[in-house]
Subunit: 374 residues, 4 copies
């Protein structure tokens, strides 16, 4: 090696140092949030695509506090598939400053939604005193036509446009402070095909009695954020996901979403609760939880078995058969597993019955889960 | 005990169950984010109150994506003390939809700021081609008067109102793609008291050469977010705080803040870097880091000493005296301590010299920290 | 520039690439845990150094599952100042495999403690049936002498060595399944200076009645982990710190620690509860929480005031004066602040009374906190 | 309602209060770590069960710092399926205190492993100077017989027992400080069927050259922790998983694990790197990443497509065809998705070529990934 070699080495270090120390501009990507979409892991259910959607949100075009594109970005990063901007028709507190019409929020958000692969549902919130309270119309074609004197005219027009209609926050403290009542008006709406769903959860409230209505009147169940500020400023996203609906659609399209909502194929998901028709809840459990084979026997002669939940759902189970040697209480947290005990069976198969306490099929009503160990 | 006693017990359980299961409405506070302000822990520096501020942000009243009150709430929850909404005078892409004038964002945000104890600086961004580029005016009285044909008129008017003026993102790729140059115009502005500060950090960029300007021309150093979307959507708030300025003010008031900025008593804080006048950086270090007494001697005869940093600042230190037995490289993370070794001294006192590599007093220039162990 | 220049540049890149790609061995420091001590931020209380200690732990030298040095490292990284390895004298399930005597754990851990600046208390657990149950002896000189037939002999010997004695887990389900009783034996021990403290918290249990004993009989309050496996495997360190004691010592030394324990200057800290003598709890509150000045008046004419808690303690406060316009319920989480309202006062000073529900001065007994706003 | 009713209500509250305030003992489950196993999500690969294993760890029965059962519990909670306790035959620093023989650690851990459904591999580390350095023997039957004067005798005996043998940390700084050499001895071992695998990663080191050996000599690739202290004290488990091996076994059994290791069906997983035979790496990528259909076209006429990674693996991709309009650099973080652009194709299908820079098939050698968008 000669002097030139060391000169080369010297310059190599110098150049490296210089390149690393651009005096003009240095990017610091580490200070920025990682621009990835966090995928919510759902079970694979044959025949269905689960569309995760929040169908009740606001922007500055009614009384929300963000620009419409922010709602699309929140949906994308939070792992949702679909979203609706449900601006109030009748309540526009920023009217003096924020112009546009009842379709403007949708029009602004649409290109961003297309770009981010988010299904954007055109929508509006018909905002009236009780009864009927607030009715959200999804899949409208022209929200401006919902600005009518009589709420009935607005609902009929929405329906004429093909809209799906749901009752928002029926137990809202400002409208039904002490009770959460079903009014005659709602019976009429139901009979006239002007009411198809109801929120059982909204923002930080749930209304147990509305679960009973959903069950008995064949309404579609909803858990929506009804967010006005920023989602991540409002919700405890460290421990929970934002409220959302798990819609069992035939594919990931607006058409399939609409069809599924009209056919009540939706489960409301809030905190770690899942609320909806029993058959859908059982589908979620059965395709989420993998039941292992007994791998050993404990000193009491009971089998030990692993239950594995690779999804982002939670299942809380309470043994319905006391004293049978099976684990009394099971919590299957997201992406985790637990080992339970259960009575060993001579014929090689043991059947267990658990009540799923965080699954709701009606008011304070929980489905029974059957676990077959073999 | 008689039958009535057990009846009472029975009803007690029943009532308890009923009370816990209100069918009308159940609040779920756990799903909401905890509404507390996260306090950023700073050292206590005699004679000063450290005001933490972000002096460059946008809302829907120029090209930002949130309502003005959201910026105040972000500031509150992020632990800031002061904030400026710096709407562009000349760039208003939402003009067709969002009305109001150049003071509207401030007017809307002000009551919320008063309520949340946030110092709200009235401001505007004079948004011109290079030179002079974008100049932010803090402490204006009427931003509408800054809408002028000539930028010089806008700057003079701002100054007439008493404004503090700083050059935003001098190395912005759209205006100075290959270099970050100081123009003759900036010399003129400086000489005419129309330029008082410069951003050394903006969004995710820093401009080393602008640190040299700040040092040589006695400009106030700034690190601002220049945020247009939501802060928590943009910045990696798990690992870092949002960019901010640590202003050494005489008290927590707008007047003291303004005085301190005019007197260059500000340190730019971005990622874990602190950039500003050397004497302020040394104040931060000396009042943050507690140097313990030697508590034992290692097998090489060196002292072991604990350095404790109870603040939210970080200090990265490199030993300037090689081979003296003192720890070569020290990182004092927020709210943590490390044990170092240093040569034992017969007279009971050892003096160490470290370069603080994440503290910047100029372009690629770092202060020397003296640590006295005794 | 000539060809040589570009050759140099070429080789510089090549060399850089080669240096970055050492084929023999590449260190990946990112995969390792950051070797810093997480400092627990306590208030500064004039005249005292708060020593954070866990005085009940086990290693493989009785029935624990880690080597003694691991306990020291856990203490260091968890931010503790002091620790005791309290091996059972009478219960040594690994005896066939793990040899040594009752001082061995201490002897092994001591050099590591000296190196990490951890105060290591020599100790043992006298492990007997109820009464008296398990008695931990801190500050023993030779634990081997505690191996006696009669428990009384062991206690007397410990005391002869100068030991501080406390009753461990008085309500342990294995020894007092249905009740947590104080036995005559304990009265005798107390009278004979053979009992100085009691655990009010151990592992995941607390014993409210033992708080009443501590208060009435002037015993030192303890919250200890009694950890046998690894601390971070056992405790929810995401949401809470491990159980510990906050000892108000005159300096950070074993002597001062011992003196403070004998003088009942200790507060038990578990979950976010603080339990101990009222005057110490008030010291903690008063030196932790900074009460701001009223910064504005709300629309009801009440002052708005910020309470700031820069420490790692939590304070839960309940207004004792209903309907006075002051915030009903306050939670001061670690390193956070909240804004409260309180009645404005014409003379410039308002005095508020709150019950601190997570501070315990006896069984279900909480101190009253006075907040003066001015 | 009469007085009795209100008496009942009164007592109901009283009883409720009393029941909630058991003076004897209150459990605080919130302070304990949630006892669930965190499941690592792997792709489903037809014909294989992926066994996640760490095959190099120590306990107090050689120079480790935990009891053998702790290693099993760590494996369980960390989501591993298999583990080996590889105590040194020749290095027993705690020998004076910790008795037992070379099988004791296995014997102690075995019942706990059976209970937790962890595959426990009986093993030992033959600990010799270089060459041959340290050789780990997996699947031994009696480790005591490996205590021989000549290393060759130990290796032959291990092989006689059916053991799988791998070279641990070939580039360990204490044995090969400046280079990582393959010695003639290793060629002999290979020829005599006494060497079947090699660590490419150990603790915090990786040895690029050993990847080349693994590739060229058909050795099984390993990434092991070689942990001596507690895993969670050592590794940065916030950002990464502990080092492990992904073994493509026919079922989840010790027999299938052994077979797969002998057939080189293993991938070393460290930080976010995957290192192993190319066909296994391609299996992992192809069954992990779901490639969506083009859902829109951007303004440059390129397709936008979503790549979704529901697994806990990471894939870092670099476009091999510059300037083709496809996204230059892609990072697929665990359980996340990204949207990329790619040239639209008239025939409905576009084929992309990316280099997977965090996948290693040899020394600084990365496989090419083909992504077909249609």
């Amino acid at each position: 090696m000669n002097k030139n070699f060391f000169t080369t080495i010297f310059f190599s270090f110098l150049l490296t140092a210089i390149l690393a120390q651009n005096p003009n501009r240095i990017k610091e990507p580490d200070i920025m949030k990682n621009p990835v979409r966090r995928e919510i892991i759902m079970p694979t259910i044959p025949g269905y695509e689960i569309i995760k959607g929040d169908f009740h949100t606001h922007t500055v075009f009614s009384d929300g506090l963000v620009w419409p594109t922010i709602r699309v970005e929140e949906a994308y990063y939070d792992g949702l598939d679909a979203i609706a901007l449900t601006e109030h028709i009748e309540y526009l507190p920023f009217r003096e400053l924020v112009k546009g019409d009842h379709n403007t929020a949708y029009t602004i958000a649409r290109p961003r939604a297309d770009q981010m692969n988010i299904l954007l549902v055109q929508a509006a919130e018909i905002t009236r005193a009780m009864p009927p309270g607030h009715i959200v119309a999804l899949f409208v074609e022209d929200a401006n036509k919902l600005e009518t004197d009589e709420y009935m005219d607005a609902l009929v027009e929405a329906r004429r446009q093909g809209a799906f209609l749901f009752w928002a926050h029926p137990g809202w403290v400002a409208q039904q402070p002490d009770t959460t009542l079903w009014w005659d008006v709602h019976t009429q709406l139901l009979e006239q095909d002007l009411l198809h769903g109801v929120e059982v959860f909204n923002w930080d409230d749930w209304y147990p009695v509305s679960m009973q209505w959903a069950k008995e009147k064949n309404l579609t169940w909803f858990a929506n954020s009804d967010v006005h500020p920023v989602v991540s400023h409002s919700f405890n996203t460290r421990d929970f996901m934002r409220p959302m609906n798990l819609v069992f659609a035939q594919d990931r399209s607006l058409e399939a979403l609409k069809e599924a909502l009209f056919e009540q194929r939706s489960v409301a998901f809030f905190l770690d609760n899942l609320a909806g028709p029993e058959h859908l809840l059982l589908e979620l459990f059965n395709h989420s939880v993998e039941i292992g084979r007994p791998f050993t026997t404990d000193r009491n002669g009971n089998w030990r078995v692993q239950l594995r939940n690779p999804t982002d759902l939670t299942f809380r189970l309470q043994n319905l058969e006391s004293g049978n040697g099976a684990t009394r209480s099971i919590v299957l947290h997201p992406r985790s597993s637990v080992i339970i005990t259960c009575p060993a069976s001579e014929n090689g198969q043991t059947t267990l019955q658990y009540k799923a306490t965080n699954l709701h099929t009606g008011m304070f009503e929980h489905p029974t889960i059957t676990i077959i160990v073999e």
